[in-house]
């Protein structure tokens, strides 16, 4: 069968599965809508968290980024997994014991202030919107590449699907569809990886294959270092970023991960504190499977590309290169007219341009796998984009209905609150779809925003709220605002106002805008502690609450006011 037929069939089956699950697990109460009734098993929650976390970017782009960045790509690998250690040890169990529905809930109660809560809601909305726009775009791109429909139509179809199960099912529907989506995406990622690893190194486990040897007996990574330096590139296993910048970016990504509201909220859905701890462990196992495979796909991909093209006759290029030339993801331009491809670091002489996304998207063809595997990768990429989009939309709708609406109208009935939650989820889907069709030019740049802001705003006040009972609302509010303003202005300055100045010699302490969230976080901590020291201690009731969340017993079910 044709690739296109297989793609339609596999994406069709996976969508039918998600919709079926959504109908089956329809949410009936606000508790089910916000936190799936608090009855999700740690294993299921771990899988759902992994799907929620791994976005279209993780699935499609990350391996490709590492292909071209080599060692420098490690910031994403360590940054996006190390955050789970912080989450499991410092946040998840205590927030579960606290037992409400959202991060702003915690900030509002712990800092006994609606101002603090509103600041938190604004941060949560901003982070989630930046992120969700990118996901909808990802959905559109996958559709247009695999199903050969225009990007706009891809976004609209994606919107309908997400609308259906996020609006109907709430957290309960989302959780169980995410479990299914995880299975689809990990299967789709691993199959080509295993085959490529076997063909290239003879070892079916990609994590070992990366350290294995290629046909002529030399180690893959040593060979790659040699080939790349010969062509004028930096060696694969050595870094180009400064050590300071590597450190700061990794830290910002880790802390940002632990502060992302759509990740934190997943730990409100399990029944007990010990389940929250265990669930973070499962989540990281499921994430680690993909994240330790990605660097292998990255190295295999760049190796295969160079071996298949460099100094080869243009008429004899491997078939996957000509297939993907149609999509403009890879282009050959014989500048010196010698009939061969020169892939070199010097842009004037280089004849091969490669889009990073091709490393994953073309992997089934590189491995010469049957057509159904191509369809499977398409379904996997869709699963990754949809699951993340749904999780983010839920945070947006919860923020509006619960954190904004209910805070100022506490008497609202549950039925009405549920309706508002659904309406705001629907509104968020439409808005996200709009940004998917008309992407603001800054989508790529704002990813740094989401992590930087989460690191500089939420993380410090949540940590301090748990580990110190002396931090008061004055400290928390001024800390959040300082961290936020500092990080926003630094990123806006270097990304939008004077992008020309965005180079290491102009950066403060050599920290790039991607890593500035780390400094924002430290500032937040310092301001938070200093201001609290000179202002009155929190009321006794709040101090008692802090003691209360530190012990697991009595977590019970999440409760409303």
């Amino acid at each position: 069968m044709e690739i296109l037929t297989w793609t339609y069939i596999l994406i069709g089956i996976s969508f039918a599965l998600y919709i079926g699950i959504a109908i089956w697990t329809r949410a009936g109460s606000t508790q089910e809508f916000y936190i799936a009734g608090g009855g999700v098993s740690p294993l299921a929650n771990g899988m759902a968290t992994a799907a929620d976390w791994m976005s279209a970017a993780s699935f499609i782009s990350m391996a490709g980024i590492i292909s071209f960045a080599g060692y420098d790509g490690s910031v994403y690998l360590m940054g996006w997994t190390g955050g789970y250690v912080l989450l499991a040890l410092l946040l998840a169990p205590y927030l579960r014991k606290f037992g409400k529905f959202t991060v702003p809930d915690f900030v509002g109660d712990r800092y006994y202030s609606n101002t603090a809560k509103v600041v938190a809601v604004i941060c949560a909305l901003f982070i989630s919107f930046t992120y969700v726009a990118g996901q909808m775009r990802g959905v559109g791109i996958v559709f247009s590449r695999y199903l050969e429909v225009p990007i706009e139509w891809g976004v609209v179809i994606g919107m309908c699907i997400v609308f259906f199960y996020a609006v109907l099912g709430g957290m309960k529907g989302i959780t169980y569809t995410q479990v299914a989506q995880y299975c689809v995406l990990i299967f789709a990622y691993m199959v080509p990886a295993i085959f490529i690893s076997m063909q290239l190194t003879g070892n079916p486990i990609p994590q070992l294959g990366l350290g294995g040897s290629v046909a002529d007996g030399t180690h893959l990574l040593d060979k790659l270092d040699g080939v790349l330096t010969e062509l004028g590139f930096a060696a694969y296993t050595s870094g180009r970023k400064s050590m300071t910048d590597m450190f700061m970016i990794t830290l910002a990504l880790m802390v940002g991960t632990a502060g992302l509201p759509h990740v934190i909220v997943r730990f409100f859905t399990v029944p007990r504190v010990k389940d929250a701890r265990l669930s973070a462990g499962y989540a990281l196992v499921f994430i680690a499977i993909l994240y330790t495979t990605a660097p292998a796909i990255a190295a295999f991909g760049i190796y295969n590309t160079i071996e298949g093209t460099s100094e080869k006759n243009i008429s004899e290029l491997p078939s996957w290169i000509s297939t993907w030339q149609k999509t403009n993801l890879i282009a050959v331009n014989d500048k010196n007219g010698d009939g061969k491809v020169q892939y070199v670091a010097d842009p004037a002489a280089n004849e091969l341009t490669i889009d990073r996304d091709i490393m994953v998207l073309a992997s089934p063809e590189i491995a010469q796998l049957p057509n159904w595997v191509v369809g499977l990768v398409a379904a996997g990429a869709m699963a990754a984009a949809l699951s993340t989009a749904a999780g983010l939309l839920l945070v947006i709708s919860t923020s509006v209905s619960r954190d904004l609406f209910k805070t100022f109208r506490p008497t609202i009935s549950e039925k009405k609150e549920l309706r508002i939650a659904r309406i705001s989820a629907a509104g968020a889907v439409l808005l996200a779809g709009y940004f998917g069709v008309n992407p603001p030019g800054f989508v790529a740049q704002v990813v740094a925003f989401a992590f930087g802001l989460a690191a500089a705003s939420f993380f410090p006040v949540i940590i301090m709220g748990i580990f110190s009972s002396r931090i008061n609302k004055e400290g928390a509010i001024s800390g959040m605002i300082t961290g936020l303003l500092f990080t926003i202005s630094y990123i806006i300055y270097f990304k939008f106002i004077s992008p020309d100045a965005n180079s290491a010699e102009n950066w403060w302490f050599g920290v790039s805008p991607e890593g500035i969230g780390s400094l924002g976080m430290m500032l937040n901590f310092i301001v938070c502690v200093l201001v609290s020291k000179f202002t009155p201690a929190p009321p006794q009731a709040v101090q008692d609450m802090v003691q209360e969340i530190r012990i697991p017993r009595g977590a019970g079910k999440a409760q409303d006011h």
Binding site: L89, G99, L210, F247, T250, L251, G281, K533, R553, G554
Partner: protein, 111 residues
């Protein structure tokens, strides 16, 4: 930071938002203080390992470790792209086991 003590459990009464049965006995306070201290010790140890495997081996000392070759991997590169992630997984499960034991020991575990 020293001015804001990471404080011990001073009161064990579910007043505000929680429906916990309170047992406000003085030795309870001492016990909870000890529980929290042990919790913090666990956190400190595990976070130390977390820092060493990622920021230490993967970034700060990557060049030194890269002079060691294991199979086809340079050790520093391996920690940055593989080893740190495996260590993170192990760290969380060690935490889970230790905390469950600690909860039972201090009788604060969930039914």
């Amino acid at each position: 930071m020293a001015c804001i003590p990471i404080d011990a459990l001073t009161s064990f009464r579910g007043k505000l938002l929680f429906s916990v049965k309170s047992q406000n006995m003085p030795n309870d306070k001492v016990k909870m203080k000890a529980y929290w201290r042990k919790n913090l010790q666990t956190l400190f140890l595990l976070l130390l390992v977390w820092f060493v495997v990622s920021f230490g081996f993967g970034i700060l000392f990557v060049d030194q470790l890269n002079s060691v070759q294991i199979g086809g991997y340079k050790l520093g590169f391996w920690f940055a792209q593989q080893g740190s992630i495996f260590s993170f997984v192990i760290l969380i499960f060690v935490y889970v086991v230790r905390m469950n034991r600690l909860d039972r020991e201090f009788d604060v575990d969930e039914e």
